[in-house]
Symmetry: C2
Subunit: 349 residues, 2 copies
């Protein structure tokens, strides 16, 4: 039942080269489950830019695999491997500025490339592929642990509300924000999910509703602004959201609209949980004000479904993310347990 | 520059019969400014149901004109006039349950029909047409007075945020929530408007952005959930919204999403004004809990733009309105001034 969001497919030679990346084209969901298979860095860059792959953990995995593809290509062409890795990492880093998992994964790939300097190129490529696959496999295990910790917060028959998609499609496993719901289901508890549709690109309607339906979990789709209504009606027991970057003080960047949901949850006395792997916590960002916020094209708002739905020339403000201040977050659900700031991870000196 | 949302067009005989109703088909905006002209009650019923005409004051006008068309038709066919009026009023009342202006306007038409019993049918029809036109013309004057009172709240260079469309397209004049903005412009002050796009039918993107652009008023379109962000960024000086029904205690039914905007405004210390004619205040409804909330079809959310954007069979909760409790409303801007509950209108015994 698990979703095969992104994986590395080994090649046929003795070193399992040349491999390829296989990922779901999420822009075609929910109507079509189509897989992209590619050996080209350009396709990964495109997939990141147009959100064929999205969600902070999946973005990190895609970036790592993009570096591996670039290295593999350099090996085939006899090009300089270190230069190819550096160039690929730079191009990948520029695709999505907010998700810190992207730079975190690229940092791991750069470290492996650096440590392998002096080895034969072929060995270095194999190491890079292994690291990218490790990042993916670790993510799968991390999602399970997030699910275990988060499921303990949910009782049978409860309803949670989520914004955007922080499910299996955002990760290599069964998600971050949805992991507790999947885990509770495995433990025999029924949880109902209100899915914010999440304008402009409707990740909630297209992706969250799709993957929950596939898993047999009851889901009710609502327009984003209806979250306040269902909370007022007493129909929401907890909010679970993912994160694209969490600053040292706990301020959290996530899909735009999350801040409003957090305000509503606070007003209605509903716990608000941010579910994310430790790799989403950024020791180098003091607070939310220091997190760069990507702005998306106006057309995603004005003609996101084909026909134009706003007058030509209208000004549009379309941030992709917003910042939820730490004081609105009840707790952070991670693979290391349910945490509160100040965080005490290894690199948080 | 004023928008000709809905009007009665006189016929050519000495009594100006047979007249017709001319209204903008708002479902075709912003791409096409198309007028519907009709002498058939059925077309008015359809226009109300599919939101070719919408907005509480315009709904009231359309209903009154629908009764006038039905009466005119009965006269032509030699049918019983009182029965035709009663049937038309009943059918019209059933189209939109939340907007109280609908029943208010129908009540006025029924009263005129009742008072004319005994007169020749032709005279009664002329009276009914006159009453429907009066309701329209009064609305135009009321909008101007709402604008005058509301404009006093706005200073040059300020930004307001509005939800849905409570502009000229929702009335016969220049709107309720947008009236203060238009009036301030006439008085030489520049006001910028953040327009919530207003899912699912995008009245903010399609209608508010269109009519403000046409009037040369600066407007920035945002997704609904982005309202909280622009407030947090300190970019909103006031919220102006319309209303579909205001209970005796001030609880206000308006387009779904308004409640969330009111919560955000309160959190950020921004004044939140409900702009509405006295006809929107319902002496027969004690509080918000007593206001019936229309639910719309799921397809307005799942395939509102043509292509389906949610998995088949997904549950959808799509209320058309929500209730903003009176304690979140800074003040009510009406043609009688800027008010606070308890209201002291004539029929509020």
């Amino acid at each position: 039942m698990q979703i095969d969001t992104i994986r590395w497919v080994s090649g046929k030679d003795p070193d399992h080269l040349p491999g390829l990346v296989r990922l779901i084209d999420q822009t075609r969901l929910p109507l079509e489950l189509h897989y992209i298979e590619t050996r080209a860095l350009e396709d990964i860059l495109h997939a990141l830019r147009v959100l064929q792959v999205r969600g902070a953990p999946a973005i990190g995995i895609a970036a790592a695999m993009g570096v591996a593809l670039a290295a593999q290509h350099a090996l085939e062409k006899g090009n300089d491997l270190s230069a190819a890795v550096a160039e690929a990492a730079e191009a990948l880093a520029a695709t999505r500025p907010t998700a810190v998992n992207l730079s975190w994964a690229l940092q791991r790939m750069r470290r492996v490339a650096g440590a392998g300097a002096g080895l034969p190129d072929r060995d270095r490529v194999v190491q890079l592929i292994r690291e990218a696959r490790r990042i993916r496999d670790e993510d799968e295990a991390i999602c399970r642990r997030i699910g275990e910790h988060g499921a303990a917060l949910l009782r049978d028959g409860q309803s949670v509300l989520t914004h955007c998609n922080a499910g299996g499609l955002a990760t290599a496993g069964y998600g971050t924000a949805l992991a507790p719901v999947y885990r509770a289901q495995e433990e025999g508890r029924r949880i109902h999910v209100f899915a914010d549709e999440t304008r402009p690109l409707l990740q909630g309607a297209r992706l969250t509703a799709w993957e929950l339906g596939r898993a047999g979990i009851a889901c009710t789709l609502i327009c984003d602004h209806t979250a306040a209504c269902v909370m007022r009606e007493g129909r929401v027991d907890a909010v679970l959201v993912g994160a694209d970057r969490i600053a040292r003080n706990g301020d959290t960047a996530n899909k735009v609209g999350t801040y409003g949901v957090a305000l509503h949850a606070r007003h209605h006395g509903i716990p608000f949980y941010v579910c994310a792997p430790v790799s989403t916590f950024d020791p180098h960002t003091a607070d939310g004000a220091a997190i760069p916020i990507e702005e998306r094209r106006a057309e995603e708002v004005t003609e996101g479904f084909g026909p134009r739905t706003a007058p030509p020339g209208v000004a549009v403000y379309a941030p992709a993310f917003d910042i939820t201040p730490a004081e609105l977050v009840t707790a952070y659900v991670t693979e290391k347990g349910i945490l509160q700031p100040p965080f005490e991870f290894e690199d948080y000196a």
